[in-house]
């Protein structure tokens, strides 16, 4: 591990600790017993295979979406539109899987995921194009695109594809469902954990290689660090931004895999439950590193699943507060840690 990764690790760990301390104090102020609450959260998660399985299940879509965002963030594209992008992709994935049910299992999965990927990717290309041609910040366009995409998905779903008086599509045939982990490892008895989780781990590893070890990843990070210098260094920066946006947005569609093929068998409006936004915090906490994303996704999943158990003691919005504080303390701690280790020479 080189010096820079070490410094990153220190600052990320410190900010998590700082966050926990702040929550601790916050709970004291609210006159709740922090020890009780924390121990309840952890016992809920780690008591049995079911708890662990459910936590990993919740981490799965976070890993997918965050890996997509990591690509964007490395290119300095602040994509806030994952929530919309992933819904469009997941919706199309489910539709394709329903319509092409004559295909054999692996082919059907592949084709429907690719279709979802392309749709999400195209919705990423729109803000990318506006950014390049008109110099409009992608932060604004992607936020606005969320509303547009969700409204479109809602419209097409309700008017053409939904099962009557529900917000979901038909169910795909049970033949096309993913293997549940409980069928292989009885330890996870009862949980919805499925092989999507392993695919998420594989993707995180591949994205790590892609971003840090390939020529394109190298260019992508250059553009993110300094777009003007990259252009002068002979990189086609606009092409890099378009491709990064397409890939990044496309990957978010994979979040639907866990729900559609691994859990319910259909697309349901609202399934994403704001993971498009939670993933922003996850990615930032991981410093855009896909391997780090695995761990920060797990942390957020622990808080999410364990948070259910303390619902009677504290409102579940407390977990949103945790997300917010993590980002703020990360920014503050990061600056301090970097200054401390830098010994920067000013002349």
């Amino acid at each position: 591990m080189n010096r820079k990764s070490l410094i990153n690790l220190i600052s990320v760990s410190l900010s998590v600790i700082v966050t926990l301390l702040i929550i601790f104090i916050l709970l004291l102020i609210l006159n709740k017993d922090p020890f009780l609450i924390f121990s309840k959260i952890f016992s809920e998660v780690f008591a049995d295979g079911y708890g662990i399985g459910q936590t990993l299940f919740k981490a799965t879509p976070l890993i997918f979406v965050s890996c997509g965002l990591a690509v964007c963030f490395h290119a300095s594209i602040f994509n806030i539109g994952a929530e919309g992008q992933l819904n469009a992709g997941a919706f199309v994935t489910a539709l394709v899987a329903l319509k092409l049910d004559f295909l054999p299992f692996p082919l059907l999965i592949t084709v429907s995921l690719i279709c979802g990927f392309i749709i999400s990717g195209i919705f990423g290309l729109i803000p990318a194009y506006i950014k390049i041609k008109k110099d409009v910040s992608e932060v604004i366009t992607t936020i606005m695109m969320n509303f547009i995409i969700l409204a479109l998905v809602n419209f097409f779903l309700l008017d053409f594809f939904a099962v009557k008086s529900t917000m979901r599509t038909e169910k795909i045939s049970a033949n096309f469902m993913f293997l549940k982990m409980e069928d292989v490892i009885p330890f996870f008895q009862g949980s919805s954990l499925n092989i999507s989780f392993l695919l998420a781990l594989l993707l995180a590893f591949l994205m790590y290689m892609f971003i840090y070890k390939t020529g394109f990843g190298y260019k992508l990070r250059s553009v993110g660090f300094n777009e003007i210098a990259s252009r002068y260094l002979g990189i086609r920066t606009n092409a890099v931004i378009m491709i990064s946006f397409f890939i990044g947005a496309g990957i978010t569609s994979l979040a639907g895999m866990n729900y559609i093929f691994g859990y319910k068998g259909f697309y349901e409006f609202g399934f994403s439950n704001n993971i498009g936004f939670t993933a922003i915090a996850v990615t930032l906490l991981a410093r855009n590193n896909p391997i780090g994303i695995i761990f920060s996704s797990l942390l957020f999943a622990v808080l999410d699943y364990g948070g259910l158990s303390v619902n009677q003691l504290v409102p579940k919005e407390l977990m949103l507060v945790v997300q917010g504080i993590i980002i703020l303390s990360l920014l503050a701690v990061d600056k301090l840690v970097n200054n401390y280790f830098r010994g920067k020479i000013v002349s």
Binding site: T214, G217, Y218, K219, A229, G343, I345, S347
Partner: protein
């Protein structure tokens, strides 16, 4: 009377002593020059004086009173003003708005613009600054922007004025005008502290000089009678001249053939005529220098030749195979990725970029470091942690090591210290001797005269005149010497051309 006294001022950054027990006085109503290479500690000392950085130990007295400024505001209140190397102006504000910002004259109903304008116009007149106080900063040239910074100091009635490399961005004519303004300041009884790299200017303008090297005061001399010993001074600044003892000589003229030919190039950007019928010929084995006041089309030439700008009219012909190398003007913005280390920055420019393993990257870094005498504590340090001179050496190495036969260099030694400058100049001559076509665009006339085989004057996007080396080589004392003096008459005629005055 002493305006400023530094007594054993020390400031450390980590283990590095930027200022190491520096003690000296600056007399009131003097023009006091502070000299030293990059990283010698000049800026740190000035930042302490201006309240940007705090000192670790030692004392500082202003007009006999001990002071320890907590912020620039604190320093400004005590009559200290500073013109930074990079101007601190808001582009979309007018001159007036920029100058009064922070020191507004107010009425009950708001800012008193009328009175402010009156006061500013008086100041502009008194110091003959020739500024329109209602012009927007974005409409002004670099030289005029500097005058706005000076106007700021006058408006705040500062007594001690600090100038950080004020002439680096000025043409000879503008520099002359600037020195006249300095003269008026002196007559008004103000104290002027002047940081520069240009020794001719020091001799001309200063009353006293102090030289810093590696954070220590190493040399002081009086110059009230303008009898400064320049060779002694330059030795004090650089310590040992390791590179200059082994200079690269200009080889005899090689059989030159055309490499790149630009004919009647017109380029319009944002409704401005950047290039206006420009003709330029680069030949193999020849250094073609271009001088001119900044903003007369320099960046346009670069962007056209380098292929960044494609919407031009006219003919652009390239007679040799291969790409074009570029050392850009603004290295921090265009030259490298500061988060990447040396090897990564070098290999970034390679064709068919593929992932290079860390070991290979470090090999490349090691090679560049040893071949170019780059000072770096850790081979994996990001480029952003290197000093300006070392960054420039890396960029220069990257661009000159390639197979490319056309090399464009913009301000190759701006902000680079004397040792590194000499090193880079030697390399530029070597490229020429190898038969490459070299274009040097610079605002440093001495540098251009030292290097150029042909020297063109650029004005409003057009080449006004091109001199052959024999036109000016007679005036050069000796090539590759630290101090180089060109004939004043020649300099004057070039200076005139740079402002668009043609005698013919």
């Amino acid at each position: 009377m002493k305006a400023v006294e530094f007594i054993e001022v020390t400031r450390k950054f980590g283990n590095f002593k930027a200022n190491d027990e520096i003690s000296f006085d600056i007399k009131s109503n003097d023009v006091h020059c502070i000299l030293g290479e990059n990283g010698a500690g000049k800026s740190t000392l000035m930042n302490i004086l201006f309240g940007i950085i705090k000192k670790d130990s030692g004392k500082m007295k202003i007009f006999g009173e001990e002071k320890d400024f907590k912020s620039p505001l604190d320093a400004i209140k005590n009559g200290i003003g500073m013109v930074h190397q990079h101007f601190m102006l808001i582009e979309d504000f007018t001159v007036l708005e920029n100058v009064i910002l922070g020191n507004e004259i107010t009425l009950k109903t708001g800012i008193d613009f009328k009175r402010s304008e009156l006061i500013l116009n008086e100041l502009v007149e008194k110091y003959s600054l020739g500024l329109d106080v209602n012009a927007r900063i974005s409409e002004l040239s670099i030289g005029q922007q500097q005058k706005v910074e000076i106007l700021k100091l006058l408006f705040r009635e500062s007594d001690i004025l600090i100038f950080d490399e004020p002439t680096a961005v000025l043409s000879p004519v503008e520099t002359d005008r600037f020195f006249k303004i300095i003269g008026t300041f002196k007559n008004d009884g103000k104290t002027i502290i002047f940081i520069t790299h240009k020794l001719n200017e020091v001799k001309y303008i200063s009353d006293r000089v102090s030289v810093l090297r590696k954070g220590k005061l190493v040399y002081e001399s009086d110059n009230a009678d303008k009898d400064l010993n320049i060779p002694e001074l330059s030795r004090a600044i650089v310590g040992e001249l390791s590179e200059i003892s082994n200079p690269v000589k200009r080889a005899a003229e090689i059989n030159t053939s055309d490499a790149v030919v630009l004919e009647n190039i017109n380029l319009v950007l944002n409704e401005l005529n950047v290039l206006n019928g420009l003709d330029l010929k680069l030949k193999k084995g020849e250094i073609h220098g271009i001088c001119g006041v900044e903003g007369n089309g320099q960046s346009g030439i670069v962007d056209v030749i380098y292929g960044i700008e494609k919407n031009f009219t006219g003919s652009f012909k390239k007679y040799i195979e291969g790409g074009i190398s570029l050392v850009p003007d603004d290295r921090k913005r265009k030259g490298f990725i500061k988060e990447y280390n040396i090897g990564e920055n070098i290999s970034l420019k390679g064709k068919n970029l593929n992932y290079l393993p860390e070991k290979r990257i470090n090999e490349i870094s090691g090679k560049i470091i040893s071949e170019n005498d780059i000072r770096v504590s850790d081979i994996e340090s990001p480029m952003g942690d290197l000093s300006g001179g070392n960054q420039q050496k890396v960029i220069f190495a990257r661009e000159s090591d390639s197979e490319n036969y056309v090399i464009v260099l913009v301000h190759p030694t701006r902000g680079v210290d004397i040792n590194a400058s000499a090193f880079i100049h030697g390399r530029i001559l070597k490229l020429r001797n190898e038969g490459k076509a070299v274009l040097v665009i610079s605002s440093d006339l001495d540098e251009l005269i030292l290097l150029s085989d042909r020297l063109s004057v650029l004005y409003k996007g057009k080449i006004l005149k091109t001199f052959a080396r024999k036109d000016f080589s007679g005036y050069i004392k000796e090539e590759n010497e630290v101090e180089l003096t060109a004939d004043p008459d020649f300099l004057q005629s070039i200076g005139k051309l740079m402002t668009g005055i043609t005698d013919e």
